[in-house]
Symmetry: C2
Subunit: 197 residues, 2 copies
Amino acid sequence: MSKKMDPRVVRTRHMLRDALVELIHERGYEKITVQDITSRATLNRATFYLHYRDKLDLLYQSSEEILNDLTGRINLSFDGEFDFSSDKPHGIFIQLFEQISQNSRLYKVFLTEKNMPHFTSSLMDVIIDFISKGMNNVQPDDQMLTVPREIAVRYYAAAFLGVIVWWLEEDTPYTPKYMATQVMRLAVKGPYINNPI
Amino acid sequence: MSKKMDPRVVRTRHMLRDALVELIHERGYEKITVQDITSRATLNRATFYLHYRDKLDLLYQSSEEILNDLTGRINLSFDGEFDFSSDKPHGIFIQLFEQISQNSRLYKVFLTEKNMPHFTSSLMDVIIDFISKGMNNVQPDDQMLTVPREIAVRYYAAAFLGVIVWWLEEDTPYTPKYMATQVMRLAVKGPYINNPI
DNA sequence: TTGCTTTATCAACATTGTGTTGATAAAATT
DNA sequence: AATTTTATCAACACAATGTTGATAAAGCAA
């Protein structure tokens, strides 16, 4: 897919994406113009319009690329098994934190800068998807759930995403494996030792 | 505070805020201009600049007003007690869903429309605050937590917010009290009946 | 009510950014 | 080496911005 692309196109889009990320970090998405992006990328403004309709289009396409990459890698490390009985986090959880860690600059900007909502909800969709698969795997019977399935899925997906955002805001102070273990523990055991449930 | 305001000012700001909410719903925040907002509000464009610096300023001030209102009401219904041993949701949880339900149009637009990130993170701060207080109340000893406190706080705050967003996206299919019960149950008991923890 | 103050309206203006075009140069592909 | 594709550049009409000064209308205080 990306192999049959003209190298100039690849280069140009990379430069535009990088410029976008930098500028959002510096000024916030609202305060950036197409002019700013192209001059930061040392490209002509007309070149921008050869690739993207407008600023929002660049943002969306960049989000899509990075998230397609993530889902691809998550699916690779999903062996169809979910084991929630131990403290050991599932490979998917580790993979999730691992991938984000490796692109932390982009993820941090897209997830934590003010007025960057689209990316957050797209990543949420990715997480909802694998949480949903995981729950179906562990307990396919709706009768055995304490709350409606869709609410539980949202609950855990949002919890995970929230921890990811915190982790990025703090500039990834813990390893991906450690983080995966923490969210696993909260989901399985809750926050308190000797939980009186 | 709002009592000593000129009624024309109150009226104008209300109209601008309402127009903003409507237009975001129709076209998305990105696609709106100050022109659009004032003509929808049947006001002169110059009047807009009498009150707000730009589109973003209107958004931020509107967010702040609605969230100040929310925190005020939450604090009123906080009696200093937290009881997580039963299924009965705490008054704060109910109050949270109740308030959002009563302003569901604005909350839905501000929380679920693409590219509306600021409001989401502000509401997150509100929720983080009371979750944090609640956890300190139940278990002030860090040694008795399964994970670092700040991670747990983020985890539960994000989980709650995620459920709220889902609930708004689905046009509030359940009552506030029902919703408060569900998130309470997930936090305390987890998703599965006969949880083998 | 009257007089004073504040707010909203309106038209006009310079400025900035947008999105497009047609011609030219440079790079990649075959 | 010939052909196709991409990037550059200058120029364009258009739309939106943010500000101004004058006028009218609404609110307030006595």
